[in-house]
């Protein structure tokens, strides 16, 4: 759901560029200077990891293949702000190097996938932790959070397209959500399996992050 150039009108892309720009600056500032510095290699390389993991694609029905977004995965392992920065990096590089997502739409894409998708999906996971937490619900929380993250991102993308007058909400919302409900299942499966397997091998990694 990387929106390309030309699909958002000027007011929409400027608004979302500003919102994401401010958000990213705040996220970078939210760290104490020393702490962020310590995490530079971690954040930069995890972003590269998310990108590389997106290369491992999985088949979806009908010959198309979906790939991993990784927003909730990054947030759960690194904490929401670091996860947000990580996903923003991925989207910036995808835009510059891969032309996946447009330059003017970069702010909107960061907002949808980096912020709403990742941090939003992560909040659901946080809610789970508060309410029902145990070894049984762990995979359920992972799966629901990552599925929701995809749906949230798709919803916001549809809204932006409608706001720009490109595609009517009555058309874009059902199609986007329909397609992404399926993609979301792949995302949920991979995120859950990967997180469960990390949980088995290095449980310390999941305990050290203070949210």
């Amino acid at each position: 759901m990387h929106i390309p150039d030309g699909f958002l009108d000027t007011k929409t892309w400027i608004t979302f560029t500003a919102v994401s720009g401010v958000g990213l600056t705040l996220a970078l500032r939210s760290f104490k200077k020393e702490k962020l510095a310590q995490r530079i290699p971690l954040i930069g390389m995890t972003a590269a990891f998310v990108f590389a993991a997106q290369m491992l694609n999985f088949p979806i029905a009908g010959g198309t293949s979906g790939h991993f977004m990784g927003g909730v995965f990054a947030c759960i392992l690194l904490g929401p702000w670091t996860g947000f920065i990580t996903m923003s990096l991925v989207l910036i590089i995808q835009c510059l190097l891969f032309q996946d997502g447009g330059l003017t739409a970069l702010g909107a894409n960061i907002f949808n996938m980096g912020f709403i998708g990742s941090v939003g999906g992560f909040s659901l996971y946080g809610l789970f932790r508060l309410l029902v937490w145990g070894d049984r619900t762990r995979p359920v929380a992972y799966a629901l959070a990552s599925w929701t993250s995809i749906m949230l991102a798709a919803t916001f993308a549809s809204f932006q397209l409608a706001l720009s007058g490109t595609i009517d909400l009555s058309v874009s919302l059902p199609t986007m959500l329909g397609v992404h409900a399926v993609i979301g299942i792949g995302e949920a499966a991979i995120t859950t399996l990967a997180l469960m397997s990390i949980w088995k091998i290095r449980p310390d990694l999941m305990q050290q992050v203070k949210y």
Binding site: D5, G6, I40, T46, F51, G102, D168, T175, L193, A194
Partner: protein
């Protein structure tokens, strides 16, 4: 696709490659913004843009086939969006209709504009990254006062992207050597393991990279980068570039 494909021609030696990265970045970004912000424009505008792209392509000795295959990335989303756009527009001659959907001449024209614009923007970006090494693009960002930590993060990203990409390819190959297909749930489980072990390897590598930074006296501040001065020639090139853009804009108002 292999990663060397991404910016395969970035280290060429043509005059376009020789231009200052900051000039190229500013020009390309302005070009993309211009294209994205024009809603409707005539056929002449697209022709002029196409000419500009073609001239750059030839001058930078980038094969046309390369540009065309690389620009396919726009199709999944742009194609989907353009089709829905087309089906919901009304006006002009109606060729087909069913329920709320219709194919009309207006719809066809508008949808093709949409596709043309996103294709032009993508082509411009492909030419930019194939005429400018990525480290220089990052240095250009540094001049534009982008957050220095963000730039350092991006440069880490770029550096380790290739390494991890190779690693994920090797892991996939190692899996395929010993794996002969199976049920979907098995495939997903396998993918989950690949993702988690790729992450753990990355994580452990970050610990070692950090040690190597610290053992060279790093105190946590962003790396120092030396920038070339912005010469008069650069200013001149930039003026020429922006004059071209103004001409393009003028053509669009015909």
């Amino acid at each position: 696709m292999h990663h060397s494909y991404l910016d395969k021609y970035a280290r060429g030696t043509t005059a376009i490659h020789g231009l200052d990265a900051r000039v190229k970045v500013l020009f390309s970004f302005a070009f993309i913004i211009l294209i994205a912000s024009l809603r409707a424009s005539g056929f002449e505008f697209y022709l002029a843009c196409l000419t500009l792209i073609a001239v750059c392509l030839i001058a930078a000795r980038i094969p046309t086939v390369y540009l065309l295959t690389r620009s396919i990335v726009v199709i999944p989303f742009a194609g989907f969006a353009a089709i829905s756009y087309m089906l919901t527009r009304t006006g002009g001659t109606t060729y087909w209709h069913s329920g709320p959907f219709a194919i009309t001449s207006e719809g066809l024209i508008d949808a093709s504009h949409l596709l043309a614009r996103s294709w032009l923007a993508v082509s411009c970006m492909i030419i930019l990254v194939n005429t400018t090494p990525f480290d220089q693009i990052l240095k250009a960002f540094r001049t534009f006062r982008l957050h220095s930590i963000l730039i350092m993060l991006l440069s880490f990203f770029y550096r380790y992207l290739y390494l991890l990409w190779d690693e994920s390819e090797r892991m996939q190959r190692a899996r395929n050597l010993r794996y002969f297909g199976g049920k979907p749930e098995k495939q997903f489980a396998m993918l989950g393991h690949l993702v988690s072990s790729l992450f753990l390897r990355t994580y452990e590598r970050t610990e070692r990279v950090q040690m190597s930074m610290l053992s060279r006296g790093w105190d946590g501040s962003a790396a120092h980068v030396k920038l070339k001065p912005f010469t008069l020639q650069n200013v001149l090139n930039l003026v020429i570039g922006f004059s071209l853009l103004i001409i393009l804009w003028w053509i669009s108002t015909w």
